[in-house]
Homo-oligomer: 345 residues x 2
Amino acid sequence: MAGIKDVAAEARVSVATVSRVLNDHPSVSAEARARVLAAVEALGYRPNAVARSLRTDQTHTLGLVISDVMNPYFTELARSVEEEARALGYSVIIGNADERPELQDHHVRNLLDRRIDGLLVSPTDGGSPLMLDAARSGTPMVFVDRWIPGVDVPVVRADGRGAIRDLMAHLHGLGHRRLAIIAGPAATTTGSERVEAFRAALAEYGIPLPEAYTGQGDFQAESGRRVTEGFLDLAEPPEVVFAADNLMALGALDAIRARGMRVPDDIALAAFDDIPWFVHTDPPITAIAQPTGELGRAAVRALVDRIEGRPPQSVTLPARLVVRHSCGEPPASSEPSPVTNRSHS
Amino acid sequence: MAGIKDVAAEARVSVATVSRVLNDHPSVSAEARARVLAAVEALGYRPNAVARSLRTDQTHTLGLVISDVMNPYFTELARSVEEEARALGYSVIIGNADERPELQDHHVRNLLDRRIDGLLVSPTDGGSPLMLDAARSGTPMVFVDRWIPGVDVPVVRADGRGAIRDLMAHLHGLGHRRLAIIAGPAATTTGSERVEAFRAALAEYGIPLPEAYTGQGDFQAESGRRVTEGFLDLAEPPEVVFAADNLMALGALDAIRARGMRVPDDIALAAFDDIPWFVHTDPPITAIAQPTGELGRAAVRALVDRIEGRPPQSVTLPARLVVRHSCGEPPASSEPSPVTNRSHS
DNA sequence: CTGAAAGCGCTTACAG
DNA sequence: CTGAAAGCGCTTACAG
């Protein structure tokens, strides 16, 4: 593979001059520039990004550590992050923690070793020593979706409280009084916040959230199945199950179906996070939709601001309720297909 | 951030010795090793992977360029690739081509510039000059899922012909005779092969595949919607629509639903690629399942073999038909939930 | 077993 | 405008 020396030789200039034209440095004569460009073309030369990074101490790379790539919410988040990063001249390396703290640490360490310019994290837990270290050390960092309290790092996330209150109104209007939730890990902010918001919304109607109706999941489908089975085994099962993410909703559906029960006739179901398939499930599922693409883009902008010395900004965007048929009464009007709205911007 | 020199100073040895203990070189005295390890610990030293890569000409990184991360099939492929790579001591950088050749080229170029040790590609098209160059140049490369004919690169993929023949038998048995397909881009192998296999399977029953029943999609949901609308507008619409991937099936479902028609009563639907949601759609969708995890792992093994100087092997694994309700008659027995089988190995 | 030194491929003050 | 030289943080023959 041709190196900068080969280009210099071919163009009959020094490597310094080659480097200058490659980096658009103004003080290069037109002739020298032309010869260098011709040589680059002739040799098919491509600068070695590794060498450049070592020298400049910049990798133009962002790290993104997400909790679970297989979760469509995070897949979409990752996609929008990559898009915005590319628009701003950065690449992104994704680390999938799979909701496992050790794996999360593995990726954080790996990314730090690679000297990424900044780190975007959606923490799987309350913060390992490594994560806290990284946050406190110099590496520019931004939390997205989930965050770690008590750490001075900007946070870009959605606020689901309003949507959960709307959901509660919807459920109450349908006559439901026994409501259960499949929660995410208490060590994650989204895990605990969604339960708290749900509990608060219930309280507005004077409805308690008993221990038995609070199932502990881990944001994975299997836990949704397990918790739902527990609910169904109760002497007085809930009338509604609210899953704190879409994968646990899938698990809940599996469990309900395995018992030969029907949604919403036998039990109602709602989910946090909306995905295209919720339109076509049997029945279509009522869900809380996050502005996922916006979150990803805002997170990248905050991180790049921080990297490039501008003051980064925390952002909170509202989530919204999308009513379908899984809790009872069908919605008034049919909704447009979500699929056709997919943007490629 | 502490560098190797700081460690050397702290441990009162040379940087050479520090490097040796870091790389498990045998000829280091026990005392020196202990002092170095203590210094590393004390300073929280982490080797700079960028510098190491420049020196050793190895990044221990694999590039994976996939056609579309938002497609659950590729998400799962990416996940299994990362898992196997990690097990073998490699990281992976994912580039999402979003089914766009220019974006694919962007990622290939970026990965090559970063001097990844090897490249895994599922090509979006028939092969850009850049891609062909990369394949012919020294970079170890393996195609996964889709491939480019005429290039000497190992291929790891699934063979769907048997499953498509099984699907055809199933459809024929249900009395369907007017069968249409939503194809992927003809420039991709999976785009053309699936049509050909479908046509061949139809031929065995003496059924032709007319032009009007061959819709040109691009593996994205929106194209599935568009093509399906065309089918439904026909004077004699097909009785069955076979979507060549799961996203186009989603689009087809959107289109059918928008007309107020029902599956399978008004029209039957089947898809290539199986996903967990197909169990819960209305109705559950008959699909062809690929051994996705196995493909990802086999692809990594082939690539690492190539990188480490062993002869790499092409692999072809069979896909299989999973009958559900979307083509008519329900299956004999209910299937176990696919969700609970998710492995974390 | 250990260290001094060269070198990986670049960029960038510095001097001209 | 241009080039010689230093240096980014490592690894690794080479000599001892």
